[in-house]
């Protein structure tokens, strides 16, 4: 980004640096990536916070997300309207939560939201079936999927309502040391 035109004001940079895990350069790179998706829509000049949102269909074609089975859910989770339209702020949010230095708690919260397909604040059996089908690309038979669901819920459910609340989920994630490094997308 060798051009001289200012994309952000200094205050904006400071706000981004204070509120996300990114440095100035990374913010600029993110802006570049965001703009790349729709060059005719997204202006170079962001100093007056233009209200522009990119639709889900554009976003899930990013190479970082394209092959991810949860791409729709990731984008929807971070969009303010829940439909998958991302403003630049949402876009920054998404990669900030998924970046390397993001905290375990933040990652857990967003992972929970991603896996919660029907947004009822629980990971119920149905969510889990969807997750498994997406993970395995339909390699398992329906009976096997049901078995895996039952087993997983039995292990992780602490209060016996046969679905996972956030507390259950957090407790389970805390036992998986690799979660932090695998729930990470390089931008």
């Amino acid at each position: 980004m060798g051009n001289k035109q200012t994309t952000f004001r200094d205050e904006q940079f400071e706000a981004y640096q204070d509120c996300t895990f990114f440095t100035r350069k990374e913010i600029l790179r993110l802006h570049g990536r965001y703009r790349e998706l729709a060059p005719h829509l997204v202006p170079l000049d962001y100093t007056n916070d233009p209200d522009i949102k990119l639709p889900l269909t554009l976003l899930i074609n990013m190479p970082e997300l394209k092959e991810n089975p949860f791409r729709d859910r990731i984008v929807q989770t971070f969009s303010e309207d829940g439909q998958g339209n991302l403003s630049f702020n949402d876009f920054v949010d998404m990669f900030s939560a998924l970046c390397e230095s993001s905290s375990r708690e933040l990652k857990t919260i967003y992972a929970f939201k991603i896996y919660d397909f029907n947004r009822d604040n629980f990971i119920c059996k149905e969510d889990m079936e969807k997750t498994i089908n997406k993970l395995t690309k339909g390699e398992l038979t329906p009976e096997e999927v049901t078995l895996v669901c039952d087993k997983a819920i039995e292990e992780a459910d602490l209060d016996g309502d046969s679905k996972l609340s956030f507390a259950d989920f957090e407790n389970m994630i805390s036992k998986a040391p690799d979660f932090l490094s695998t729930f990470h997308v390089r931008i």
């Binding site: 092959e67 016996g160 679905k163 956030f166 989920f169």
Partner: protein, 846 residues
């Protein structure tokens, strides 16, 4: 979203007390859902409501088809005192019907109460998040002010208590309340320190827009309070300093970011092979930074001053350059800043170079120190001594820091890694973006899930005694093969080194002229032999492991690592003994010129040969093998990148580099070049030849193990060798900065003595030096204190682990309690609505 759900009391009441018809309950429930996700899309709400409708219909049907389930429910409702008595039939019940089916029977009212439980609303709505963070900031503030010591145990360990205050807040969910909460949060944030505030802001699970709004309010408030309260210049100054420091910090971060090496390459590897293979390259990068640090330190303090003031040219003049020097490190290089022998033993100074002290100047050993002129001067021996010492010390600190950080990340709870739930939610590697790798990963995950299911269904069959014995014999055999071959190799290296040594001295005695080309090349025999062993023996170990058939892949990896480590440590041990025990001691007797330079050259050759053999291995083992298996065997499988072996090779190379810093200050530079080459070669080879690994790889745990190995045998061994050399081996008398001294340590003492003579006021320094550095007692005491500190820390960690266990037990108990209460709730609800239910369900059945 759920923060404002169902907490308003009249809904609760309606749910509990108006069970007249199902429709009413449904209506209130869908209303609830509508409220719950106001900003959600419309169609999804409807779908949700429909689902819940269906769920309830199922409930009715289930109730109709087997109405005798109710007594089971009652069995569960027994209070805890009776539980033990009723345990047996309860168990039987649970066998008859899996636990998760019970929930489908729960009525919507129970579900509503459940969904409004405080622990389930954490992090869901904006209001809840804000008040949660308000609580946290308050806690943090209080802790900062009163007791800064107990910190981390507090919030993370009590997940179920965390939201209580949230609940009381979210009872009134109007906007004004939220504004109030936000105000409180802003006030709290304002009174925190800048770094704490940033940490809090970053950790909040809100959007950037919301966060920057909060941040703006905080800053506004800060400015207002600054303008209002007559701040005096002191705090003004403090404020400015803070701002300046922050700017400096951000520019430093940006600078660090611009140093971020190989971003694209690492992303490509991660995208194709996932976290496991990536960890190899990250490790390589870490090593590169260690060497860069060492190189900068030695280059700045040793090489540069010496290069600016070159000593008297050697009598024989410059040798002509042939290609072989690059491999042997002799000839042209031997009298250069590359090696110890070139460095002078006098004080360099700006104006004129002192005439070098004559060789074998043991009589006037302190002459060079005494005659140093005042002003800008640079005491080379002292610089050499302290630079190496400090470099090792700082490296040690950084290593220990890395290790502890890595430990903290990966060994929180080390048990229970084959849970199905964890496989489902934590096994997807979000980094992987290449299509074939994604397909492979999902295939792997389904295989693992199937295996786990099979494990669940299969009982653990006990092996017979005969099988166990057979197993044990095989293990013993494999281990004895490995140990035997390692010992044989170590012996072979020892005798080879001995032979080379004797041959060299024989040659030196017979003809004193310059060694010929053959003699030069024969110097390479030892490094080539050792590298060959390093290349071939791991293959043997793999064969032994194949024979053993380990069940779990992790045990297999650990066994492979320990065997390879054993081999490398044995070889390095033998070599160190040879260098420090024989070359160093006997060289004087045999009239060798400069044994330090010789050892430096040997290490250079080892490092180079290691690189050459790694390249050959990559070429033959990976590239040609891939071509062979594709073209001749017609198999589509490619070799898998062996992370453990490659990382161990890196550790071996790094140990050589650390060993050699004392004898060849530019060796870290060579190591840097080697690592850069390795990075590109391995990267190319991996991308071209390898396929993504099939086995799951616990990356964080492995990284911790590798950092530990780098610290414990590798760095510790190297520093012990270096310290031993400095402490008790007499340096050669005709070359190097320490010529004429009994040990390298003496340089420090001489300097202190001289200082004492020049300025008597600093006499305390001499006594301090005599007591602290020269006296072994002090070192023993220091080491003892260090060990005690480590011991206490392990004790503390052990205690914390116990606390974690207790807390987990508590979580489990609370879960049990919750289950019990939910059952109670359900039964009360059922009792209340059972009479009208019958009629309505019969209606719907008709």
């Amino acid at each position: 979203m759920a923060g404002n759900v169902g907490l308003s009391p009249h809904y609760l009441e309606a749910g509990l007390e108006s069970p007249i018809d199902e429709e009413g309950v449904h209506d209130s429930f869908s209303q609830l859902i509508a409220e719950q996700s106001e900003d959600g899309p419309e169609f999804e709400l409807q779908a949700l409501a429909r689902e819940l409708d269906e769920e309830d219909r199922d409930y009715v049907n289930a109730y109709l088809t087997n109405p005798d389930q109710k007594p089971q429910g009652e069995v569960r409702q027994k209070p805890q005192g009776e539980v033990r008595r009723g345990r047996r039939d309860l168990d039987r019940d649970e066998e008859a019907e899996p636990l998760n089916q019970t929930a489908e029977k729960w009525s919507s009212a129970t579900l509503r109460v459940l969904s409004s439980m405080p622990s389930r609303t954490i992090g869901r709505t904006r209001g809840a998040i804000i008040s949660q963070y308000y609580n946290r900031t308050t806690e943090l503030r209080m802790r900062r002010h009163s007791r800064p010591s107990i910190r981390d145990l507090h919030h993370s360990s009590r997940p179920s208590l965390r939201g209580y205050r949230v609940q009381s807040d979210s009872n009134e969910t109007d906007g004004a309340n939220e504004m109030k909460k936000q105000d409180n949060l802003v006030n709290n944030l304002q009174s925190l320190s800048v770094s704490d505030r940033d940490r809090m802001l970053r950790a909040m699970p809100l959007g950037v827009a919301a966060k920057s709004e909060i941040r703006r309010l905080v800053l506004c408030k800060e400015q207002i309070s600054k303008a209002h309260g007559q701040i005096h210049c002191c705090s003004q100054l403090k404020f400015n300093v803070i701002i300046a420091a922050r700017h400096a910090w951000y520019s430093w971060l940006s600078f660090l970011h611009s140093l971020q090496l190989w971003h694209v390459a690492l992303k490509r590897v991660g995208g194709r092979f996932g976290t496991g293979v990536l960890s190899y390259f990250l490790f390589l990068k870490t090593l590169l930074f260690f060497n860069l640090f060492l190189f900068l330190v030695t280059g700045l303090f040793l090489v540069l001053p010496q290069a600016v003031h070159p000593p008297e040219p050697p009598p024989q003049g410059h040798l002509n350059f042939s290609g072989l020097e690059l491999l042997t490190g002799r000839g042209y290089f031997s009298d250069s800043v590359m090696y110890y022998g070139y460095y002078s033993n006098y004080t360099l100074n700006g104006r004129s170079r002192m005439s070098g002290a004559p060789p074998n100047a043991s009589a006037d050993e302190s002459a060079s120190f005494e005659s140093a002129p005042r002003g800008l001067s640079y005491n080379m021996p002292l610089a050499y001594f302290f630079t190496i010492g400090m470099a090792f010390f700082i490296t040690c600190i950084i290593l220990v820091y890395c290790m502890s950080k890595s430990f903290g990340q990966s060994f929180r709870v080390e048990k229970s890694h084959d849970m199905v739930a964890m496989k489902v939610f934590c096994s997807w590697d979000f980094k992987v973006i290449k299509k074939p790798s994604v397909a492979l990963m999902s295939e792997n995950i389904s295989t693992q899930l199937k295996e786990l299911l099979a494990d669940v269904n299969r009982d653990h069959d006990n092996k017979t005694l005969g099988q166990k014995l057979c197993r044990l014999t095989v293990h013993c055999l494999a281990w004895s093969i490995c140990i035997g071959s390692t010992m044989a190799c170590a012996l072979a290296v020892y005798y080879l080194a001995d032979h080379m040594y004797n041959g060299r001295h024989l040659l030196a005695h017979i003809n004193t002229m310059d060694p010929q080309l053959g003699g030069e090349a024969s110097l390479l025999a030892l490094p080539v032999g050792v590298s060959l062993i390093n290349l071939l023996l791991p293959g043997l170990f793999n064969a032994a492991a194949w024979m053993e058939e380990y069940d779990s892949p992790s045990v297999r990896t650990y066994v492979a690592i320990s065997r390879n480590l054993m081999l490398k440590m044995c070889l390095l041990g033998v070599l160190c003994y040879h260098w420090l025990g024989r070359e160093a001691v006997e060289s004087q007797a045999l009239g060798q010129q400069c044994w330090e330079s010789f050892v430096g050259q040997e290490l250079y050759r080892f490092l180079l040969m290691d690189l050459v053999f790694t390249v050959l291995d990559t070429l033959f083992g990976e590239f040609l093998w891939r071509l062979f298996s594709e073209k001749v065997l017609k198999r589509s499988r490619r070799p898998v990148f062996d992370i453990a072996r490659n990382v161990l090779e890196l550790i071996y190379g790094q140990t050589l580099a650390w060993l050699g810093v004392l004898f060849s200050p530019l060796l870290p530079g060579v190591q840097i070049i080697k690592l850069l080459l390795l990075f590109y070669i391995k990267m190319g080879s991996v991308m071209l030849n390898c396929q993504a690994p099939r086995k799951p790889y616990r990356a964080s745990q492995m990284t911790t193990i590798f950092i530990t190995l780098l610290c414990f045998p590798a760095f510790l061994g190297a520093s012990v060798c270096v310290t031993y050399t400095m402490w008790s081996i007499s340096p050669s008398s005709s070359c190097g900065p320490f010529r004429g001294l009994k040990t390298m340590m003496q340089a420090g003492r001489l300097w202190v003595e001289q200082l004492e003579r020049d300025t008597p006021s600093l006499a305390w320094l001499a006594t301090a030096h005599a007591y602290l550095v020269e006296n072994p007692l002090f070192l023993f005491v220091a080491a003892g204190i260090f060990l005690i500190v480590i011991y206490f820390h392990t004790q503390v960690v052990g205690g914390q682990r116990k606390i974690i266990d207790l807390l987990q037990e508590q979580i489990k108990n609370e879960g049990e309690d919750k289950k019990f209460l939910i059952m109670r709730l359900q039964s009360i609800h059922e009792k209340k609505r059972s009479p009208p239910r019958h009629s309505s369900s019969q209606d719907s059945a008709c």
